[in-house]
Assembly symmetry: C2
Homo-oligomer: 225 residues x 2
Amino acid sequence: MAQTRTGRPRRARDSLSRELIVAAAEAVVQRQGLDRLTFQAIGDELDAHPTSIYRHFRDKDELFLALIDTLRARSYSGAMTETDDWMADLRNQAHLIHDHYMRYPEFALQMALRRPTDFMSVEFTIGALRRGGYDAESAALYARALGQLVRSAASIQAALTAIPEEQRDADDLTWEKDYRKLDPESHPNIAWVGSHLPGIRDPRGWETALDLLLESIERHAPNRR
Amino acid sequence: MAQTRTGRPRRARDSLSRELIVAAAEAVVQRQGLDRLTFQAIGDELDAHPTSIYRHFRDKDELFLALIDTLRARSYSGAMTETDDWMADLRNQAHLIHDHYMRYPEFALQMALRRPTDFMSVEFTIGALRRGGYDAESAALYARALGQLVRSAASIQAALTAIPEEQRDADDLTWEKDYRKLDPESHPNIAWVGSHLPGIRDPRGWETALDLLLESIERHAPNRR
DNA sequence: ACCTGAACACCGTTCAAGT
DNA sequence: ACCTGAACACCGTTCAAGT
């Protein structure tokens, strides 16, 4: 492994920047995974000394948030435009957010926790509900309900796909293979549905929850399609 | 700080156990937080050498999962019993799970990711849907949809409350205070709802999403109340 | 002013040594 | 067999030294 080898060719003055460092950090995660995101690895990627990063970021957390913000801007920049179908707008907005988390599964949890919302998507969602005829109070409440559902479900589902192989063996996910071996006496209902139960990573769970939620939102709307 | 001080009084043989170590680990987290959960801290709590834990757990991950399983058993043991109101059963089950995550917010994410389900709650949920008249395929699908929504929303919301103080300042949560200062020209809909928008940690978001989802589930049920 | 080198405190883990 | 002590590799961070 590459150590902090002394005597490296000195980098040119001002050849580093926040943008370069963030790009190197993303490359490290993409190639080696999030738990390999260290100052050492970023330094190797940049051919720079690990501690040179401290000139541009206060600490690792600040660098990490900058990386997350870069990814978010990439997914959302100029993404949504209103149509004359406010329900379709809500659904497309939900899928846009879901796709963003699934695109960067290693960051999904931290994105949901530390960048839980942004003005643009809230603005868009409230606008759609407003065109559905909702008053301000209901539109605000439903926008939050929808936003929290989408963000939570997407980030957890994405994170599930990013669990390291070594950890999966220790997890309950074996149940996907074994639940049919359960005693039908003590678990008659699971036995009853048999093979119909979707696996824990099956996207139909999320899609169904979104369908049911949107269905209620449409039913309550003064301006139904 | 207590170091690995040499010359500690030797612990009696077989005086350690998985149960004792797990209890000590929980005490450490409760008193000092999850990022202070180290072998050193657990050793201090037990008055034992940090590495003595390796005789009882393969590694830190195995200890951590054992701790999570202990907490889950505490919350769910003999928790739910069927009533003659299957819709109320679904709602109570959802609140039970939500309360479990909110009770242990520091563990919420890992509980949702590494112990995403258990037989008992799935069995109970399918049973309720079955009494609602659903066929096996629909009951299985809706049980998954409901389970994923509840688990995801509860774990993310709980984790939001457990973010360390030092990190919050760097987060977008400041928007709760500042979103009304947005330019009404570029964000007319946010300006329109004004103070009606619930904060990011407001429980009404989750409650509303659950209400809307359950409403649809009842509407589709062959046996409506 | 920006980058490098060395050092520090801390962490999980391994392994030989005690009893 | 179970607990202890010492050591190892690795990590984020600080700070003085180079240029």
